[in-house]
């Protein structure tokens, strides 16, 4: 055993340094641990400044001692490589460990130990912790808004049914796989629309808009049988024509009757709210913004200059303005642009505004994918005698969309995170309901609990979405 030089830990005295360093390191951690969990101050006899920094100094010296390269002990080498590469890293690691240790007890006590769960009045919330009773009492409002309590089963039933119908893709056999796209693009949105229309609303929720939906879906279905030479003109004219036809042949009272099922009351959209509204808006905007965005992405890549300029104008306009002004526009300016007898529900106006806004972002993402495809793909498709639509639907878009899955997922995430902005037009989804509940004189002073609750919910939704998109990306990744 050679002489120990404390300034230069070396391999010859490995175990002396290892024991000494480990001891100092754990002593420092123990000090912080006792301090934070049991509010014991072991170093209280030292002057204030030293007592504060002692764990850091001890831990630093400990880590310095055990920083021996190629020690031959696997765990030690791993530790040194990951948290203890040099002095600076050692201090940062220690600080992070201490911050975590210090913040665990207050967080735990606020969330669980001192929090109140029982009861259903404000009086039970006397502790220093969170008042989860507040959430418990208000949970129906946070989930369903002002939707009548007795009718909430309608929302639950619709959501369960739509989730089940949405998961069909996982269970179908290979024989039916080729119909899945058709199902998800046309049939599923239509079923969802029917559920909202008949079940959640039970009345004329979409007014003039529902003619539009019916016209659009009818024209898409008929569109499959139109020869591709006329498809462009067809889609330019027929939806509008169908719309006008429907509007002047089915009348308002009949629409109310149409929306009614026996025994279901009409709940107007002003009463919808909470998390369920977040889902409804996200769902419809997601469905609408994708085809619109795709159309404008193709338009921007089009060989016709006029169509290209119109698409560029559309995309750059929506990307240049904040969503809140778009919603302002849909609330105060849009009604001015429509005939006096033309009524669009404010929820629908919101959905249109958000869809157009997000469509511009989707368009840019898809354009990125289209640009990334090599020219050879286009040329190969053309040389097989495919026309514009056939080429895009069967060759170009499937490849381009696969490339931009992360980008599209990010846009959809942004969409979900943007839904709280609908407070501008007076619709209250979960964040809006929180703000309303916060001002209730019976329940003042629980803003923190509400926001933490909503933050957890949104975090789970968004995190799950981003993980799902990552999985999709991995699944469809093909080597090129």
């Amino acid at each position: 055993m050679s002489k120990i030089n404390f300034l230069k830990p070396n391999k010859s005295n490995l175990y002396s340094f290892l024991y000494l360093g480990t001891f100092l390191f754990f002593a420092s951690i123990l000090d912080v641990l006792l301090n934070s969990f049991f509010s014991l101050n072991l170093t209280g006899f030292l002057p204030g400044f030293l007592s504060y920094f002692l764990p850091l100094i001890l831990g630093f010296i400990g880590l310095y001692f055990i920083r021996i390269e190629l020690s031959g002990i696997k765990q030690l080498d791993l530790l040194n490589k990951h948290i203890n590469t040099n002095n600076f890293n050692a201090i940062l690691s220690l600080l992070i460990i201490f911050i975590i240790l210090k913040s665990i007890p207050p967080i735990l006590s606020w969330f669980f130990i001192d929090a109140s769960f029982a009861g259903d009045t404000k009086d039970v919330c006397t502790g220093t912790g969170a008042c989860w009773t507040y959430i418990k009492v208000w949970i129906r409002r946070f989930m369903y808004g002002m939707y009548p309590n007795g009718e909430q089963w309608r929302i639950n039933l619709s959501f369960i049914a739509l989730t089940l119908l949405g998961s069909v893709g996982y269970f179908v056999t290979d024989k039916f796989k080729k119909y899945l796209t058709l199902y998800y693009v046309v049939i599923y949105p239509f079923i969802a629309f029917l559920f909202i229309f008949f079940f959640i609303s039970g009345g004329p929720v979409f007014f003039d808009f529902s003619y539009g939906i019916i016209a659009a879906i009818l024209s898409i279905i008929i569109g499959f049988f139109i020869p591709s030479k006329f498809k462009f003109y067809y889609f330019l004219i027929v939806p509008f024509a169908l719309y006008v036809l429907l509007k002047y042949f089915i009348f308002y009272e009949e629409l109310i009757e149409l929306g009614k099922l026996d025994g279901l009351n009409w709940v107007e959209t002003g009463a919808w709210g909470g998390l369920s509204l977040t889902f409804i808006i996200s769902f419809f905007c997601l469905i609408f913004c994708f085809p619109i965005g795709m159309a404008f992405a193709l338009g921007r890549r089009s060989g016709f200059p006029l169509i290209r300029y119109i698409s560029i104008g559309f995309i750059e306009f929506w990307r240049g303005v904040p969503l809140i002004t778009v919603l302002f526009m849909s609330a105060v300016m849009f009604p001015m642009f429509l005939p006096a007898d033309f009524f669009i529900d404010k929820l629908v106006r919101c959905i249109i505004a958000i869809s157009l806004f997000e469509a511009a972002y989707v368009a840019e993402v898809i354009r990125g994918g289209l640009q990334a495809l090599p020219r050879g793909q286009y040329e190969a498709a053309k040389s097989l005698g495919m026309g514009y639509w056939r080429m895009h639907i069967f060759v170009i878009l499937p490849q381009a969309l696969k490339l931009v899955i992360p980008g599209i997922a990010n846009t959809f995430l942004a969409l979900v995170k943007d839904t709280p902005l609908i407070f501008v037009v007076g619709l209250l989804e979960i964040v809006g309901m929180l703000n309303l509940a916060k001002t209730n004189p019976e329940w003042l002073g629980f803003a923190m609990e509400g926001y933490v609750f909503a933050a957890i919910i949104f975090w789970i939704i968004c995190y799950a979405m981003s993980k799902y998109s990552y999985n999709l990306e991995q699944k469809y990744k093909t080597d090129r």
Binding site: N89, F232, R319, A455
Partner: protein, 383 residues
Amino acid sequence: MNFKPKDIGPQLMTVIAVVLVFGFFTYNAQVNMENRGIDFGYGFLSQESSFDVQFSLIEYDGSHSYFRAYLVGLLNTILVSVIGIFFATILGVMVGIARLSPNYLINRFAAFYVEFFRNIPLLLQIFFWYFAALRALPLPQDAEAIFGISFLTIKGLFVPAFIWQNFNIFFYSIVAATIAIIVIRYQAKKLQETQGKQTPVLLISIGLILILPLISFLIGGVRLSFEVPVLKQLATTSFIYEGGVSLPPELIALALSLSLYTATFIAECVRAGIQGISKGQKEAAASIGLTPNQVLKLVVMPQALRIIIPPTTNQYLNLTKNSSLAAAIAYPDLVLVFAGTALMQTGKAIEIVSITMFTYLSLSIAISLFMNWYNNKIAIQEK
């Protein structure tokens, strides 16, 4: 130009459709405005606004015009955006580099930060800071001084104001120092390229930027003093700080949440940029004898910046647009002052919303044009 007759059809149809839609809207707008007796015009901008704004950078009260109110809102928007961009950049770069750290703990900590703040709606974060976190601050009379001169209270942050004498001389000295530094850098680069001599540019620059302003203090007659905020009693239980500069809690909450939120996106841009540099570049640079600092400065950063800057500018743009959420917590920005209060008073929906949108639009188009120019400038010139 290869003109094809069969191309006319689709284009003409599209244009007709667009014109029809716009024509439909304009016609309806005219009819509606006639029915309601509203006239269209921007004349109201010069009328007296007769409403007050709580926080403004320029002199403003109810007797000023609507145009002045518009300027107040615009300046407030720019102020909060600049503050947000400043802090978001610092935090974002730090977190982005931390995510690439070999230190497992730092790496995870940064990743946790990014995943946490990125997945919560910005509006919720703003509400959280404004209604929950900042409400827990002490009242003015109970506030403890930070460094003895600043006070962070429930009514905002109060910091000392600078009072300058002969500020222009100080300003000129800074300008002179900047120009001198640019000239010296240019000369040093020339010297390096022609003769291979290296000049300690950094030391000279630091010296210049310190010494020239110091001289202005010593012989230029520049004086600086501070006006420290002082507690003042308004009523028996109501206190406020007077003097100094006061930053309202709305501004603090907004700037804080904007920077925390946008920093996560900037961090990802920075990480992607540095990861995008292939290892071979660093090894090649090291093998021709550059020091690690030189490798970073001369090889890695110029290439990484090329990847980092375009998406980061996009994030700056997003931050500026997101600052319009100020309307939710009553920070008097462009949307609240102009599209809120002014619109309520005048009822000129079309004019005011169009001006507001046009302002944001020109802001973002200006930045995108600058971006395109910059992109073309730094793009790799392929042969």
